[in-house]
Symmetry: C2
Subunit: 307 residues, 2 copies
DNA sequence: CTGTTAGCGCTTTCAA
DNA sequence: TTGAAAGCGCTAACAG
């Protein structure tokens, strides 16, 4: 059977309320008694019944993380990392990636103090005091969020390329996405900027389109909207006898810039976002002041870019 | 303030235990009364307090899913899918992908009836009645698990290739993995079978090694240990003027075989595994008989294989 | 069919 | 410094 505070109380010859206090490290119980109880609890294999605790207090240290698109690498890294960070700050992270209703129910069961939405949709959780949307486009402008950040990163990368003599660029994106092209078209200093949109799943066509495009003109830089596209571009480039980066630099956006990438990247670090999120959550829940950390665009430059 | 069954009881002029029964759809309460109470509950915005319910019953319909490597696409798909399937069967899926201790605590809070370990390690959860390891190598041999399944799939693919005249093969794997080569070396009917191991992150070397290898001899088939490797192989092959599949077929193992892949795949379907898992969990928890479904190796063949 | 009552394990006054 | 007692919201006998 499970061990309760009553069992411990009996063994320790104290009342069960004393045990409760000892277990919560209350100053109202004498140190030796406390130690004795703690030791006994450990020995007897006591585990707190959280339902009872939540019922009695109406509080919980659980934090919900809602991530409907966990199969997206970027969110997965963020979720993993934010879990770790929350845990370090004494919270209990609880992920839901099934339906919205599921998430709502689970979070309400756990009486979460906060839910973090790892998605670009601004999903709401009505009965939660505090819902945070680090990835949504409309987040309060006090801080840099994902949306602003990826544009900043793109512009920073473009600026670097411009300053190192890159004058023409080819933007390679997936069909559904044109933010990169739009951003660079408007705010960068390339003389010529072309856009090639491809279907990531049709590798044969991708190869052909890219080859045809490069057969006509070689841009100074190929800027891809994902790491995967950049890897394929790299191989296609090599196969066309292109010297990378002498003839043409290759760089890509990535939502999880890290140092072990084979191609140069710009973007942001999901890990750092995660740490910032955890700090923010901690501050809000504990009603502390929070100093917004400006997350910076990140870049990993390696031999695929000519500087 | 939150609405409790007592509030409803007062409004409805019944005792609160009647409300409890009505809310649990007990046959012990007259239909009109039940309807009245249900309507009232809805109107008043009643939400059950799960902590109280768990405390009172000692039971919960929550199922834990432990997935430490959620950034692995294959597990991510599985987790997503198993969540959906469990939900459909009336369970509440709860994912943890942080530390083991986190997971244990969260699962104990939720009083999960079962935990599913989405990992190849056979991780145990001591205080849970029922822990299921669909991805571990040592699972009971009553059913085909991930481990058996990937070998079966590889052999089935090899057999198909053999029967359609492929006599020589090049196995392309990442450095840390040689199961594919070992399996095919031992049990397939290729005359010649070579192994090239590459580092997925060093795309430049990957290109060179693969090019050098193919410059010497062209195998009838290139069998890759991941979809990503196959995509790169495809592009390298094209760039060398290789006609795919006339000169050489390309196929890859994938833990999540689906029809939208640009290259031919063999492996299994995480989605089907997920459905089987959910069935199994349902049967065990409800003490029903379970008929093991033999999950079958899956294949997606498209133009990259010559038949 | 409906109501009464006694807990589930814990926290938290309040009294000793 | 400790203990007694009430109560968090709900379920589950049992009695009516």
């Amino acid at each position: 059977m499970t061990v309760t505070i009553k069992d411990i109380a009996r063994e320790a010859n104290v009342s069960f309320s004393t045990v409760s206090k000892a277990l919560n490290d209350s100053p109202l119980v004498k140190e030796p008694t406390k130690q004795r109880i703690l030791a006994l609890a450990k020995e007897m294999g006591y585990e707190i019944n959280t339902s009872a605790k939540i019922l009695a207090t109406g509080k919980s240290n659980a934090v919900g993380i809602y991530c409907p698109e966990i199969t997206d690498q970027q969110y997965a890294v963020y979720v993993l990392e934010v879990s770790r960070e929350l845990r370090q700050r004494g919270f209990l992270p609880c992920i839901s990636s099934s339906s919205y209703d599921d998430a709502k129910e689970m979070f309400s069961r756990l009486k979460v103090a906060c839910v973090i939405v790892a998605d670009d949709q601004e999903i709401q959780f009505p009965n939660t005091d505090f819902v945070y949307h680090p990835f949504s486009g409309n987040a309060d402008d006090q801080e840099k969020n994902h949306y602003t950040l990826k544009r900043d990163a793109a512009l920073k990368a473009a600026s670097l390329l411009n300053h190192s003599g890159h004058r023409t660029a080819l933007i390679l994106s997936e069909f559904h996405s044109d933010w990169l092209y739009r951003t660079l078209k408007r705010d960068s200093e390339f003389n010529t900027i072309n856009h090639l949109q491809v279907n990531n799943n049709d590798i044969d066509r991708l190869y052909t389109s890219l080859k045809n495009t490069l057969d006509q003109t070689i841009p100074d830089a190929i800027i891809c909207s994902s790491r995967n596209l950049a890897e394929l571009t790299f191989v296609v480039g090599k196969s066309l006898g292109l010297k990378i980066p002498e003839d043409c630099s290759v760089i890509a956006f990535d939502g999880n810039v890290s140092s072990d990438s084979p191609v140069s990247l710009f973007g942001y670090s999901s890990k750092k976002m995660a740490a910032a999120t955890a700090d923010y959550v901690y501050a809000v829940i504990n009603k502390r002041e929070y100093h917004y950390v400006n997350l910076n665009p990140e870049m990993t430059l390696n031999y695929t870019v000519k500087l």
